[in-house]
Symmetry: C2
Subunit: 224 residues, 2 copies
């Protein structure tokens, strides 16, 4: 009976606006809508069969998640991240993930197992040359890292952060060069966590993120 308590959050979740937001979020994250593109109320509203008002509620939601850019009287656009935005996102990652790995001493075996799963998933995808999937597994890896903080709000914050980063990933032509170097590093970082070497993990993570940011910024130029 107490187990049902956990599913309660999913119960209330269903208004048309929220479902529309879910759909659009998916489309944006998977890159179907490219950054800078304008999302017409008329076009999308009729395509999805919802009214303008409902659609606008969905737009607001995504705007607050920073996936859409709402410009007054001009409409909503898929967010275009500047280099400064990317740098900011990585500053944030250092804080959220850094704090997480520092707490690895208190990490539950369950939490570590979850991280391990994402590492394996990345390795499998890499050996199959599915670099898109490697990126997804990598995101889940870092999401699982942040979960070590045991804070639902930080989890949510990280979720949004990674969604934003997806906007950048999709703007790049070569996903392999972006994700490949980190498959092995994920495995290594996991090892440090399992050995409860918090400070080493934190140090390693710093370098990890520095490199990732550099790699990303090198290949990225805002599409305007």
């Amino acid at each position: 009976m107490a187990a049902l308590e956990h599913d309660r959050s999913r119960l209330g979740r269903s208004s048309t606006a929220e479902r529309v937001a879910d759909i659009l979020r998916e489309r944006i994250i998977e890159g179907l809508f490219v950054p800078g593109e304008r999302l017409s109320e008329e076009a999308i509203g009729s395509a999805l069969g919802v009214s303008r008002n409902t659609l606008r509620e969905a737009f607001r939601l995504l705007g607050h998640e920073r996936l859409l850019d709402h410009k007054l009287n001009r409409g909503v656009f898929v967010r275009v991240l500047s280099a400064a935005d990317v740098a900011d996102l990585y500053r944030m990652r250092r804080v959220l993930e850094g704090a997480a790995v520092r707490r690895c001493a208190e990490a539950s075996p369950e939490a570590l197992r979850l991280i391990g799963e994402t590492v394996e998933e990345a390795e499998r995808s890499a050996s199959d040359d599915r670099w898109q999937d490697v990126g997804t597994a990598n995101s889940r890896f870092h999401q699982a890292l942040v979960a070590l903080n045991q804070s639902p709000r930080l989890d949510e914050t990280m979720r949004q952060l990674l969604a934003e980063l997806r906007l950048v990933f999709h703007a790049m032509r070569n996903p392999r060069s972006l994700h490949e170097p980190f498959v092995e590093r994920n495995r290594l970082l996991l090892g440090l966590l399992e050995a409860r070497r918090a400070e080493d993990a934190a140090t390693y993570l710093e370098i990890y993120l520095d490199d990732a940011e550099r790699l990303l910024l090198q290949a990225y130029e805002p599409a305007g």
Copy 2:
């Protein structure tokens, strides 16, 4: 010409829905709407002279900021924080503020001066027995701390976090006992930052937040 670029962000800012959200946010934060209270679309809409649709857009905004709780088919309520929520907020504070003070070595004199201002403001308010204002100054102190991270997104996250905490503060009868102990501690922490003693500051902050959380949770019981 490049100077104007900076003001551009202020240009787009004004739709009725956003202004309505600003007003409601203020009223919630200052405790005029108490946690648990239901906000009627009809009543508030006509009181503010905006249509239901516009008002609902504002509600969505505040719901996403966790100040309002949107229950399907039942309306929006001012958020009631559980003890678990408070604990989560403090976990988050430890992460955001902890990372901030650890970077005090790189802090600009300007940033430290800003922190100092909030300390003095708290001291002034305290000596005048204006404990409400002490709370405000204290919030600004911690906001200024987080600013050491130099991340706009973390600043924004912290802003929301403190707004949520206000919901709890207002639910308490005795603001003095809640804020008084920390006026002096703020001054002390500032000293550590100015001396660039990052690790000491981090350690001190941990204790600071532990005490604050305990104090808050002791006196707080969700009003249902």
